[in-house]
């Protein structure tokens, strides 16, 4: 009995050593959580099996601590959660490092093959609600404010089959007030047309099936539902101009990229060109990806666009785009030039060389070392099955791309402690400060494997500040509000968006790293309503709650 015990101790010691690499400016320590993503993987390799895995980090009970929600699969043949192993899961954070499974009590176990999740307080009652998108079925869960949710899908009217494309497969969504009426509208990202009865099979070797290239499936349109303010939504996909641009959507990033006061939408597509929906106002959008230079990467290839984030990476006030793809397709970075156009800086940023051998799913732009420059955390893993492992690295560790400033990145994987767990087929991820230590933590899902919590253990003691906004005229979550922080004479920008990475939602306060600055000289908040609020000389290392002035 002694040998195995010794081996375990050595293994544990090794994990600790890896997880606490003193040389890395960003490092994480692994924490387990009792969730295993089950997408009903079969030898036939049906497409949805490899696409599951949304994650949300949000405070469902307003106790000040961020909780965790995972979407989960279902029996692939029936698209029903025939077993509790397929339940979606909600874990309540007690603030003491414990996450308690409250799924059943909350009423969030779900019914179908769920894929993505979007957090947003659509009825402005102060409790965050959940949109859960899935294969041929979407659900809206209203947060009752007492620890339970009610499925209000039928009333909301967000789950009707498309008249032309039939039932859709949603991989995620974003809550965003597209017309600045103070009500969050819902943008749903749809992947591709899938039917188990007519799906092609793709052979990776004699008698061995693997997931097919998206070119074997038809594109589908995304959807936009306008919030009527009474618990119902109106499908404005066609009249808004969204529906006429079908794609194979994998991620949505929301930002006002041209600073005209209206939130725009970038959709990363899988092996077809991306979409950039410019908000023209009045609920109308124009698709401008080609004109803006974000339809394709600089090399003009159709790549496997996966998750996306849309935030200012270079502190110039204009939101940039980071999305991910598979190996040798790179993790593209589009720098916002400020005149409606973008430049592909993947190569000059160093991201090309760093990401060339990697396959990514879920990128999140946030400042993980609190140095004042937003980094990019990317969950990694290949879309192909484990049977394909002799040809590509199917299971991969996650990587944090540290922003060195000036749009230059450094990749940290083992150095950041992220090899403290075996490589996996990681999927969704969400970010937030789970333990109130001022450092952003990450929750990631992985196919047929335990989920991971990566507690941020970065050294340096940099200062930080977070803003939890409460809209009054604007939507209550403040989604779309633009925040400018000046500390140490340098400005930083971010905006409220819960849409994160792949199929996921990060709904914590807006986080800023402040480096050595123990206070902030000024804060400017531009609300979607047009209201501008300013704060002066704010002490750092705290969450500032700001209510929109009436």
């Amino acid at each position: 009995m002694k040998a195995p015990l010794l081996a375990l101790l050595l293994l544990a010691a090794g994990w600790i050593a890896v997880g606490q690499n003193p040389a890395s400016p960003i490092r994480f320590v692994y924490r387990p959580i009792d969730f295993r993503l089950d997408s009903s993987e079969t030898p036939e390799r049906h497409a949805p099996e490899t696409m599951a895995g949304g994650v949300a980090v949000f405070d469902y009970n307003n106790d000040g601590y961020l909780d965790i929600f995972f979407t989960n699969g279902a029996d692939i043949h029936t698209l029903q959660k025939s077993s509790s192993k397929y339940f979606n899961r909600l874990f309540e954070n007690d603030g003491k490092g414990n996450f308690k499974d409250v799924t059943v009590k909350a009423g969030l176990a779900g019914m179908g093959f769920d894929n993505g999740v979007a957090v947003g307080d659509y009825d402005n009652d102060g409790y965050k609600d959940l949109f859960v998108g899935g294969v041929h079925g979407n659900h809206l869960y209203h947060n009752n404010g007492d620890g339970t949710f009610t499925d209000v899908t039928a009333k909301a009217g967000i789950n009707r089959p498309d008249s032309q494309y039939g039932p859709l497969w949603s991989v995620g969504g974003a809550w965003v007030d597209v017309n600045n009426d103070g009500l969050l509208d819902l943008f749903v990202v749809n992947y591709l047309a899938w039917d188990i009865n007519t799906e092609p099979r793709c052979e990776a070797g004699p008698g061995k099936y693997d997931y097919c290239h998206p070119k074997f499936y038809k594109a589908t349109p995304n959807q936009l539902f306008l919030n009527n303010g009474d618990g119902t939504f109106r499908d404005v996909s066609a009249e808004s101009g969204i529906r006429s641009h079908p794609g194979k959507g994998m991620g949505v990033g929301i930002a006002d990229y041209d600073l005209d006061g209206l939130m725009d939408l970038f959709v990363s597509n899988d092996k077809v060109y991306n979409s950039l929906f410019h908000n023209k106002g009045g609920g109308k959008f124009e698709e401008v990806a080609f004109e803006a230079g974000v339809a394709l990467t600089e090399n003009g290839q159709f790549i496997s666009g996966m998750g996306v984030d849309f935030r200012d990476l270079d502190n110039d006030g204009y939101p940039d785009i980071a999305f991910v793809a598979l190996d040798n397709e790179l993790f593209p970075i589009f720098r916002n030039l400020g005149k409606g156009g973008f430049a592909d800086v993947t190569e000059s940023s160093g991201m090309a060389r760093l990401s060339a051998p990697m396959a990514g799913y879920s990128p999140t732009i946030a400042d993980f070392d609190n140095d004042g420059w937003k980094d990019v955390f990317i969950t990694r893993g290949h879309v192909q099955s484990l049977g394909y492992a002799s040809r590509v690295a199917v299971e991969q560790p996650n990587t944090i791309f540290r922003n060195l400033g000036g749009m230059k990145f450094q990749a940290l994987t083992a150095e950041a402690g992220l090899t403290a767990q075996p490589p996996k087929r990681h999927r969704g991820s969400a970010v937030g400060d789970l333990n109130h230590d001022g450092r952003l933590d990450v929750v990631a899902s992985a196919l047929s494997a335990p989920a991971e919590i990566w507690m941020n253990d970065s050294p340096g003691g940099n200062h930080w500040i977070e803003f939890a906004l409460e809209g009054t005229k604007s939507n209550r979550d403040g989604i779309g509000a633009r925040i400018k922080v000046v500390a140490g004479g340098a400005a930083q920008y971010n905006h409220v968006s819960f849409a994160a990475g792949y199929a996921s939602s990060s709904a914590g306060p807006v986080h800023f790293g402040l480096g050595r600055n123990a206070s902030v000289e000024s804060v400017e908040i531009r609300w979607p309503s047009g209201m501008v609020q300013e704060l002066k000389n704010v002490a750092a290392d705290r969450v500032i709650r700001v209510k929109e002035a009436e």
């Binding site: 070797g205 097919c212 594109a219 080609f290 003009g300 040798n328 002799s390």
Partner: protein, 349 residues
């Protein structure tokens, strides 16, 4: 990136030398006459006599083997296959027949079949290095990468300084997307035999794939020092220079490439990119157009040209190119291999 061909390497097996008993004197006479001709290197004539013998007595032992061998010597591998198949069927333990069948499949580019036969032959003669080399290649070309890797690695145990084996193992690893390990094998190949044809190009290509453009450039230049007309090395050198920021050298080299071979699409595309960056828009557009003409099915040149037109304020032309890109993404363009469940399958990538 296939680095070696079959030709010139078939020294594995000695000519079969069997005299036939005189059960049917006419058949035996034809067979022996064929054998004498084969020994004299007159394989076509030998084939005629073997065939005459077969017509008289198809059961004559060893006749199929020698007929196959005559075809094999003429590099008529497809013709050799049926004879070797019959020979192995008649005597499954016949190493020579099985090895030749495997080699003939290889020569016919039936690599999976070749691997199956060569594996059985190799099991009979595990120390036969050349056979194992071909077996490893057969696994490689039939995309059985794990098996190929095992074979090349075992070859390296016996001959650690074989540049061709390092290179082929590197290819296996590259095909399996293990680029770092593939690079290490090519680096070992360069070390073992820096004058091996294609070794610098192969290593440069791997560096290029990993965006290690400086190192790639050095390797392409080394290949060009030995083979100045190596247009692929020149093209990739220019591309590496372009990505590395040395646009002047890139332009020089791209123009050299196009003098050597004006049909190299990547050279047109890259030249268009550099010239567009220098605001030499008309010339850039001409190269993008040529890249489109050489392969209209790729979106990149359309996209580049569209972006160029947009920058020049020629919106209608830009939109026309963007429309081409969108068309290329449509299912009817990209879904020629749709399979219905229960039928045979399409590829994954």
């Amino acid at each position: 990136m296939r680095l070696s061909a079959m030709k010139g390497a078939l020294v594995l097996l000695a000519l079969a030398a069997r005299l036939w008993p005189a059960a049917d004197p006419r058949a035996a006479a034809e067979a022996n006459a064929g054998l004498d001709l084969a020994r004299a290197g007159k394989y076509l004539e030998a084939i005629r006599h073997y065939r005459a013998a077969l017509a008289l007595d198809p059961s004559l032992p060893g006749l199929h083997l020698n007929l196959g061998l005559a075809y094999f010597k003429l590099n008529r591998f497809t013709d050799a296959v049926p004879s070797f198949e019959k020979a192995t069927k008649a005597d499954p333990a016949d190493f020579q027949a099985r090895a030749l069948l495997g080699m003939s499949y290889y020569g016919s580019r039936r690599f999976a079949d070749a691997a199956a036969q060569l594996q059985r032959a190799s099991d009979q003669q595990p120390d036969n290095t050349e056979l194992r080399f071909r077996l490893a290649q057969s696994y490689l070309w039939s995309q059985q990468y794990d098996a190929a890797k095992d074979q090349f690695q075992s070859l390296l145990l016996k001959n650690p300084d074989s540049a061709p084996v390092h290179m082929l193992l590197g290819e296996v690893l590259d095909a399996a997307n293990q680029e770092e390990q593939a690079t290490a094998e090519f680096e070992a190949a360069v070390k073992a035999s820096p004058r091996e044809p294609e070794v610098h190009f192969g290593l440069g290509y791997l560096y290029w794939k990993q965006k290690r453009f400086d190192e790639a450039g050095r390797e392409f230049q080394a290949e060009l020092a030995a083979q100045p007309q190596h247009t692929q090395a020149l093209t990739y050198l220019a591309d590496a220079e372009m990505h590395g920021g040395d646009e002047a050298s890139a332009v020089d080299h791209l123009r050299q490439v196009l003098k050597l071979d004006p049909k190299i699409r990547l050279a047109h595309l890259d030249l268009g990119i550099v010239l567009a960056g220098r605001n030499e828009s008309d010339q850039a557009a001409a190269h993008f157009r040529e890249a489109i003409r050489l392969d209209p099915s790729k979106p990149d040149a359309h996209y580049r040209l569209g972006r160029l037109w947009l920058a020049m304020g020629r919106e209608a032309e830009a939109n026309a190119e963007f429309a081409e890109v969108k068309k290329l993404a449509q299912p009817e363009q990209l879904e020629p291999l749709v399979r219905i469940p229960g039928r045979d399958a399409g590829g994954t990538q």
